[in-house]
Subunit: 132 residues, 6 copies
Amino acid sequence: MFSLTVRDHMMIAHSFNGEIFGPAQDLHGATYVVDVTFEREALDGDDLIVDIGLASKVLSEVIAEFNMKNLDDLEVFAGRNTTTEFMAATVFDRMAAAIHQGRLGETGKGLCAMKVTLGESHIAWASYHGNL
Amino acid sequence: MFSLTVRDHMMIAHSFNGEIFGPAQDLHGATYVVDVTFEREALDGDDLIVDIGLASKVLSEVIAEFNMKNLDDLEVFAGRNTTTEFMAATVFDRMAAAIHQGRLGETGKGLCAMKVTLGESHIAWASYHGNL
Amino acid sequence: MFSLTVRDHMMIAHSFNGEIFGPAQDLHGATYVVDVTFEREALDGDDLIVDIGLASKVLSEVIAEFNMKNLDDLEVFAGRNTTTEFMAATVFDRMAAAIHQGRLGETGKGLCAMKVTLGESHIAWASYHGNL
Amino acid sequence: MFSLTVRDHMMIAHSFNGEIFGPAQDLHGATYVVDVTFEREALDGDDLIVDIGLASKVLSEVIAEFNMKNLDDLEVFAGRNTTTEFMAATVFDRMAAAIHQGRLGETGKGLCAMKVTLGESHIAWASYHGNL
Amino acid sequence: MFSLTVRDHMMIAHSFNGEIFGPAQDLHGATYVVDVTFEREALDGDDLIVDIGLASKVLSEVIAEFNMKNLDDLEVFAGRNTTTEFMAATVFDRMAAAIHQGRLGETGKGLCAMKVTLGESHIAWASYHGNL
Amino acid sequence: MFSLTVRDHMMIAHSFNGEIFGPAQDLHGATYVVDVTFEREALDGDDLIVDIGLASKVLSEVIAEFNMKNLDDLEVFAGRNTTTEFMAATVFDRMAAAIHQGRLGETGKGLCAMKVTLGESHIAWASYHGNL
């Protein structure tokens, strides 16, 4: 199995609901270093997993929905806690939709799985890994 | 599949038995940067994989058994080589026991797998990955 | 010259005033990985620059003023932009005050300079370096 | 499942064929930070996954075929694009052959899978993961 | 003293002249992770060292002269060895010229010094530090 | 000012004397990631700060005195605490002596200063910086 990862980041504000979150119930924020790993079983005719330039461009477009925002203000997240793990799955869903729309080109259609990892600090990160 | 990783570290002395270890047969030591990855199939009602504060606290308690110790002096390791890979499995076993005892709370009971990685230097690390 | 660095982090929300900030004028946030470097010309009688346990504890106490907060709500920052570089100087000031109060112990009094670096992402960080 | 990773690097020149590569069609180069992960189901009698000294030595020998070279000049790559993902699979193949030849010793024969990751920058890396 | 660092990278081919270089006399290549540190004594009226967006844009423009190139083909380097340390000074010179031309805006004119670091691998990097 | 850094590591056991060390008074150990930074004002005739191959070889030889050892057993450290900062200065002294003996070649004689940093974990490191 082949895989290729590209890295970008986003800077967001948010707060959490629930006693389990302690002081994180207050409005605070995070830098998420976003790693997206694209998986496929064989290389394409150019010896590529995916067009890395296109992959980076689409990732940048996807996270623009969240970057420099207060996630508490986004209707799409109403009733949810925008935890690191939840946001990893959210970025996964957006990237998967982009791939299915053909935004990663022909080669993107050969991808079989993807993993999104969000690093919230030097000591904690979360991932969502799924099939495409 | 969702996963969440927390990082801590421990500083230990030890020596190895067996010609294959060369100069590492003498008493020396290591800093192990310890990454524990918790896996579960769906988020809980708080949009969490596990309570990250609780996970960090339990990890710290688990590695306190080894931190600032000479592993050669611990009876539990008699007859074994406390290699990086062996210690990864050991931390896994201790963390798994803690989860089964409920020390990671109700959410901890929904975890399905775990991976423990011990980094011994900038150029070498070892992991143990298993089901819970 | 000797130096010792300890690392911690804080997660904050904030917004900026001024056209130069573009989309960062909106409420967003950051994880700041905080590195504090303590400098002294000679080691103390224990062969130490500073008590590392005490240094880590005081750093944690200092950044608790900001961690899990919306910096826009803190009166002490009224009229200022809490940029990464501004916050580096702020942490410097708090740590310097702690040292002068003796919170780093006797050894802390022998420190001659300090540098505070705040990492805001994998591609940007800012520092303040000054004498004590 | 146990795994052990060792890291080395190689510095190569190359160019790519195909419009998809844009400016990378011109002769340029890369530092590849090479991580090889060895997997096995149980530790051997010495509590090892593999002899780490031997693993590092064989990896160094394997990448010597490419290090400090212009990959465009190597006949073995004629008609292929030596992308990061392609080179990850190439290093995998060379390491797998070395293992099957017994160059990682008796313990090497117990390995069941391997993953090779080539880091091309702080924001991109590619892997090949396969059974042995 | 305040400082702010931004990171980018470039991928180049080159060869060296002189026996001291051994196998690096052959055509090979490198990824250079480029860190540019801007220094100033006091923050500007926006609480900034420099406009980070502008700094990143200018850095990207400066390294475009070298990125995806064979440095041996650039006339400007005739008779020189484009070592990591030499290229650090070269990027410094280009960035300094850009600052003096006002390409970092009004705030850029308040900078007093700069440091350029080029990382060539996980185990080697070189810098040039100078006044502006 | 130019600088070049090379990285290596050593794995040692030791214990400390003095109440300030708490549990570190017991025998434990550390991996020290060792960064040595060589400084000079101008490049030599080959556009080098120092011969990087020679620098790495001499560093490896210097730390062989400590690597895979219990520092408590070395007479040269009798009566001292082999703290991270103390060991940084010790490696500095050994490297400085090697340079003065000509072990870094002719180019090594043009070096004006050096900095040695020992990383003991992902959250703590210490340095010694001095003239040559």
